[in-house]
């Protein structure tokens, strides 16, 4: 196919004026629509592009966007029926940055409602399918983004979002690259919040280079989000090179290779560790003892924060609305009961419980203290290790028809490897291994995105 190009090749050709953009975009749309019928990855497709797409760093590169990131004039629902019909009158800051650099927003991708899930089966709309095996889940919660990146053989990158692993998980399951930056590196302005102290906008792409490129564009301080870090802009693609860092050591946390992790996955990750060893990168086994406590601490914090965030949805100003004929309490309850899916209700109620007087200290406050200990443990390891390496997910993607047999607590447990670094706000990347749906997870210290990109690039380009 004429436009079966990598992002890097596309940008080169656009720079040299070798691509007729109108022809490219119409071919892209035709292919996207065909693929989307098959995979149900996007909920909305934007049909036209406005403005000058010949300037900036992206030259009209197609970018899909997770449904929970606001795009001006494009319906944005965070995968929830309660927001159906909501058309943001503004762009999220990351979208403004993409547009400033001539990225072409091509649509909104399906996800678990508000990010509540590991398989994208908690979507209020369509459940995206895994392009590697369409009977299986794409992973969650940024499942639509990973599915379309994997399924479409054209230059394209997707903006995802992770609270507890929602970029890494679908990237592993669909065998693409998912980069979750340090908490606060990318502005959350315009993100429909799940849990404010955990949410991170990141990138899903076919290659490590693609994710590094888009991160360079969306990263940076934003006065509209006071939790963004004041850090000088950096071109992360500079870390995409074959040179091997000297005298570094990777940590291999033994808790991440326990018997609970599928043996085929463990073996494959060990192959990668041994490959890195063969090119001069040493490793050492280490321990993250707080791993088992990180999961409940994460869920308590995430549910508590989400229960407050979801309080604002009441059917008055946007999204699902009805005739307000009755008493306000009844009206709000009616809209909320109709608009929220089962997992959203579950988390609102549990989150409200964890914040109630009499329980707050035992759950919420205690979880916050456990988070401190999780962060401290990582910080100690990063004094010694360049990065940590492990499997991304403990399991292979389940069949869609089998997901309903998984209980909520079993589902939460499948986030055991992605939750701890998310709770600690560390940057992480999932890079495909040679076995389909098995991702290798690399985690580094706060603001060390360069390190994860470097190791992932070396693994991606292994001989």
């Amino acid at each position: 196919m004429k436009y079966n190009l990598s992002v890097k090749e596309f940008l080169e050709k656009r720079k040299n004026g070798e691509i007729d953009y109108n022809d490219f975009y119409s071919t892209f749309l035709t292919n996207l629509k065909r693929k989307n019928k098959e995979l149900r990855a996007l909920r909305v497709i934007s049909h036209s592009q406005k403005g000058d797409l010949n300037k900036g760093k992206l030259y009209g590169l197609p970018i899909s966007v997770k449904d929970n990131i606001c795009v001006k004039g494009v319906e944005s629902c965070a995968g929830s029926k309660i927001l159906e019909g909501y058309i943001p009158p503004f762009d999220a800051s990351c979208i403004s940055n993409v547009k400033k650099n001539s990225g072409a927003i091509i649509g909104k991708t399906n996800q678990d409602e508000f990010g509540f899930g590991t398989f994208s089966t908690n979507s209020g709309f369509d459940i995206p399918l895994n392009p590697l095996d369409k009977t299986r889940v794409a992973g969650g919660s940024s499942g639509g983004s990973a599915a379309i990146v994997a399924g479409l053989d054209m230059p394209h990158v997707s903006l995802g979002e992770s609270t507890g692993g929602s970029i890494s998980c679908p990237s592993a399951f669909c065998s693409v690259v998912g980069l979750t930056p340090t908490y606060g590196l990318v502005s959350r302005y315009g993100l429909i919040d799940y849990a404010n102290s955990l949410d991170k906008i990141g990138v899903i792409g076919k290659t490590v280079y693609d994710t590094a490129l888009l991160l360079s564009i969306i990263a940076g301080h934003d006065e509209k989000d006071f939790t963004t870090i004041n850090k000088k802009a950096e071109d992360y693609t500079n870390y995409c090179g074959p040179d091997v860092p000297k005298k570094i050591k990777l940590g291999v946390p033994k808790e991440y290779f326990s018997d609970d992790i599928d043996k085929r996955i463990r073996d494959e990750v060990w192959n990668s560790i041994h490959y890195l060893e063969s090119i001069g990168i040493d490793y050492e086994e280490c321990s993250l003892k707080m791993t088992r406590y990180a999961l409940p601490a994460y869920y308590i914090i995430a549910m508590a924060e989400s229960s407050t965030n979801l309080a604002k949805f009441c059917g008055l100003r946007y999204g699902l609305q009805a005739d307000p004929t009755e008493n306000f309490n009844n009206y709000f309850s009616k809209i909320r009961s109709k608009g929220f899916g089962e997992e959203a209700k579950r988390r609102i109620i549990l989150g409200t419980f964890a914040r109630m007087s009499g329980f707050r200290d035992a759950y919420y406050l205690r979880a916050m203290k456990v988070r401190t200990l999780v962060i401290d443990e990582y910080k100690r390891l990063f004094k010694k290790y360049y990065a940590l390496i492990s499997p991304t997910m403990p399991i292979f993607p389940p069949k869609i028809k089998d997901v309903k047999k998984i209980s909520p607590i079993q589902c939460y447990m499948s986030d055991i490897l992605t939750v701890p670094p998310n709770l600690a706000g560390m940057p992480m990347i999932s890079v495909p291994s040679s076995v389909p749906s098995v991702g290798i997870h690399i985690v580094a210290d706060h603001l060390q995105e360069g390190r994860i990109i470097k190791i992932a690039y070396l693994l991606e380009n292994r001989c």
Binding site: P89, Y318, P408
Partner: protein
């Protein structure tokens, strides 16, 4: 052993959160919540004496920006509300 959360608790909390549960949902959630909260209680094993809570993963500091008013057009703000009157959103009766 005393149940961490009862069916009546779940009903009370869902009322507070403005969510009406069907009898079936109430039964299902009540039994699931016992299992979930029980699994969460392993954090009781952690010694958190003298540990400060982390409200954010990084030590963020308060930042200030100039107090400049930026006007968001009222039409834009109201564009998603279906029931409007004279520049206001029409809501349900209070009380």
């Amino acid at each position: 052993m005393k149940k961490i959360i009862t069916k009546d608790d779940v009903k009370h909390i869902s009322d507070l959160a403005r969510i009406n549960l069907t009898e079936k949902e109430l039964m299902k959630f009540s039994s699931e919540f016992v299992e979930i909260l029980d699994a969460f209680r392993i954090i009781d094993e952690v010694d958190v004496k003298d540990v400060e809570p982390s409200f954010h993963p990084l030590n963020i500091r308060n930042v200030f920006r100039d107090d400049n008013v930026k006007i968001f057009s009222a039409d834009d703000i109201l564009s998603n509300a279906k029931k409007k009157e004279k520049g206001f959103i029409l809501g349900p009766k209070v009380g």
